[in-house]
Homo-oligomer: 495 residues x 2
């Protein structure tokens, strides 16, 4: 990348891992005139949430400096450096920076763009100069980097936004006040303006996405990149006719195209007629491959195999889990034979309380909606239909999928609300306990029913062993199960 | 615990989480005369290997002090504080400490006791006083805390060892040189010697365990505590007649007693006669419950269910994985119905190269030998038989289990060495790559075959997705898969 700057007035800033014996640094290389002219080493290393940087990197401690580009003295920082008050950006401003560039691999969560914007406005105020915020785009396991790069001027106005969830090249002309003299050393990189030598793209600002739309786009990008970057082209989804598998199939089609998505209905003796017809209707509307593999023969054979051990005992949960696991065996066999990645359809509400079967419905390669609570699953489905309707297309999700009460259909007439409170009660409680780290006492003070709170907290705590073995899933909230929330399984603390 | 020191000359040091608004500290409370007399906050917070302390704790920065106990000025440190040269222990020595007590939650790995001993000898030399090292005993998810507390005198001699892998109370009389004056402040806790008021236990030193014995004991303690602390009494193990499930069953019996271990043979159409007879013979020798659940009926039913999708295609690996997954379905059904925890029997060599079936043989609640390479599995089996023979008992492990070539028996005449190099080649390569972080170039320089090295490294890299969903397993090496080795699944780097 440095070589590509030869013969051009362009200065390139590129993130890389810098090293010296025994130490690594999260760093930015400053490239001009065909070579690396200098390096900035990240000073603030996040070690919270999904970040483990203090495990791997040493903090940069070199004196700050500025980089002269066509008469503008540019300060450079990396990600976290711009997230603290009175930190490196303030020092660069004091030292005479005319402009600060901040390069990022900043993962998405709901409304993160607004958080970044608030931060940049504070940085502009304390440094007195424009802030150029550049962010990675793409999926990496559980994280989705959403791009949404932006420029905030010295007065704190957002003057340019790039798109979210897609790469974009943008050339922006900025009004920059040159502030002399500087007290920081300046490395002169270029005295010529690149703008005069190259055509300038007309600046245009991308709109900020509403919350539901941004989550949907995050799921699409995260799914597309997880599948492609891991060498897959096709995915398979078990279609139950329920809202979770429906959303996952719709996301998969938007991520990969209908030709690369395979739906499988696996009715059991307890499945309703409408489950199968809703699944088939969804597949038709999405235009995907669809097959039906009834699990009755395997179910009966396994019960017979186990009859000597079980005798006449009621099977209860054992029988329910058995069906769920046989479906996973079917999906994994299709995966093994045809090279399709299994998309898991468990949502965050289920995963939180352990309302899923280990090696059953929680099995698969990527858990697309693992961090999406049930009520948001519904909102995302409606959003997808609204998008279709607005474009004059047939809404992909059948209305009956959205209207019927949620059920696992693992015993006759089963409904989620026989085991769990209504999702209108459950989801806010889970958000407060899981994402908010709220104690039981505070949850009750905040108006949650004491008995429900005690029961749900106990379920969440007890289900840690299931979550430990769950597939990676796309993170869309401030705290996903996984690297965000590291709890022991063996744990006598409660609440 | 502080209250229990009332009316006694005893001073108690107990680890706890200290806090102030917005910050937590890993701390030791010093209790005497019925109350907490002071607190030492850990200064050095490990953030490598299995440790994440910088995520949760702030480092203690208060001035060091000493605690006067019956005329002896005692310095107190916590764990990592004693693992660095010229650190807190050296400062305590300079300040006049007559004795340093170091409290620990230090997890076991092979030969860790010797590492601790070397550290304490350096601490004694630089501080000029005896070192009392006290360590936790017990299992906590993947970690086994082995106890093995010890005292090193001022000359660097280990003068007392407590047992490994079991709690022990020991009262030891020490020759302590009082060094006056001290330059650190001293809090006088007690002027009376406790020794004069209470009978002194005769000091005795426990022997250090040889490597194979200490690993075996770690597996037994880790299994016992994981099972009991998570509310289980009984476990179930799939017995294939192979060496891995044999070792796991033997460990389980030593951890829980034969009445709490249930063995299940699940022969398929490809299982050999000797597999079933070896499993039955093992169960008889161990005195455990044993049942046979042939999987043929389920196997045939599933193949039939999938025949429309598969047509006449050769199933190959798909068919092998199917059998393995049906066995997991059987074990999980027994677990659900009877409340038995499933013990997983995958070893570290298999887990490293992905020679296992996701949701099949890698499924279960605790992977007892997940961090035990195959050759060590054999050594542990022989060790267990030697212990029995030395005690005049029948060796629990049939000789035929140890003598036959390893096979997954998922197709006719299958043997591990058709897919993998001999374990004598594989295990050292895996140790160098996984535990030693050795690059491909260095592996080849060190004499590993280039083609084998490239192939095995690629297998290890590619199997990350399987390991991500594997159950917790007991850590016995310096680097276990899990918290020790955090790699992305989506990863284009190789070797």
């Amino acid at each position: 990348m440095a070589a590509a700057t030869a013969g051009s007035a362009c200065v390139t800033i590129v993130g890389f891992v810098d090293s010296e014996p025994g130490r690594l640094f999260n760093a930015a290389a400053v490239c001009a005139g065909g070579r690396v002219r200098g390096v900035y080493r990240k000073r603030l290393l996040p070690n919270y949430s999904v970040f483990d940087e203090q495990r791997y990197f040493a903090a940069g401690t070199e004196p700050l400096m500025l980089w002269g580009v066509a008469g503008v003295d540019v300060g450079i920082t990396v990600c976290e450096d711009a997230w603290v008050d009175d930190g490196p950006v303030a020092r660069l401003g004091e030292g005479g920076a005319d402009l600060v560039v901040n390069i990022n691999a900043s993962p998405f969560h709901i409304a993160k763009v607004l958080e970044r914007e608030r931060n940049l406005i504070r940085r502009a105020a304390e440094s007195g100069c424009p802030q150029v915020y550049v962010n990675l785009v793409g999926g990496q396991d559980e994280l989705v980097f959403d791009g949404a790069s932006m420029i905030v001027d010295a007065s704190g106005q957002v003057i340019h936004r790039l798109v979210s969830f897609a790469p974009e090249l943008s050339v922006v002309d900025l009004e920059v006040q040159s502030r002399q003299p500087t007290t920081l050393p300046v490395v002169e990189l270029s005295t010529q303006s690149a703008a005069s030598a190259q055509p300038v793209l007309a600046p245009h600002s991308a709109p900020m996405l509403p919350e539901t739309a941004e989550v949907y786009e995050a799921l699409v990008l995260g799914t597309r990149d997880y599948v492609a970057k891991n060498g897959f082209t096709d995915v398979v989804v078990g279609l139950s006719g329920g809202v979770d598998s429906t959303l996952v199939a719709a996301v998969a089609v938007d991520a990969l195209g209908p030709d690369h998505v395979h739906g499988v209905a696996m009715p059991s003796r307890y499945s309703s007629e409408h489950s199968l017809s809703d699944a088939a209707e969804l597949a038709t509307r999405l235009g995907i491959d669809f097959r039906t593999v009834p699990i009755e023969a395997g179910h009966a054979a396994m019960l017979n195999m186990l009859s000597e051990s079980f005798g006449d005992a009621e099977l209860g949960l054992t029988g329910e889990n058995l069906q769920s696991r046989l479906r996973a065996v079917v999906l994994m066999a299709l995966s093994n034979q045809f090279g399709w990645l299994v998309l898991t359809t468990s949502n965050k509400s289920e995963s939180a309380v352990g309302y899923s079967t280990l090696y059953g419905d929680s099995a698969g390669g990527l858990a697309v909606i693992k961090d999406v609570p049930k009520l948001l699953v519904y909102r995302l489905c409606r959003h997808r239909n609204d998008v279709a309707a607005a474009a004059g297309a047939v809404p992909p999700i059948p209305g009956s999928v959205l209207d019927k009460p949620p059920s696992a259909e693992l015993r006759p007439d089963q409904r989620d609300d026989q085991s769990l409170p209504a999702y209108e009660v459950l989801d806010p409680l889970l958000e407060a306990y899981v994402e908010g780290d709220t104690s039981i006492a505070d949850l009750i003070n905040d108006g949650h029913d004491p008995a429900v709170t005690g029961r749900i907290v106990a379920l969440v705590d007890r289900a840690e062993y299931k979550r430990r073995q769950s597939p990676p899933g796309l993170r869309v909230t401030t705290k996903a199960f996984g690297k965000d929330r590291r709890l022991p399984i063996t744990n006598a603390y409660r609440g």
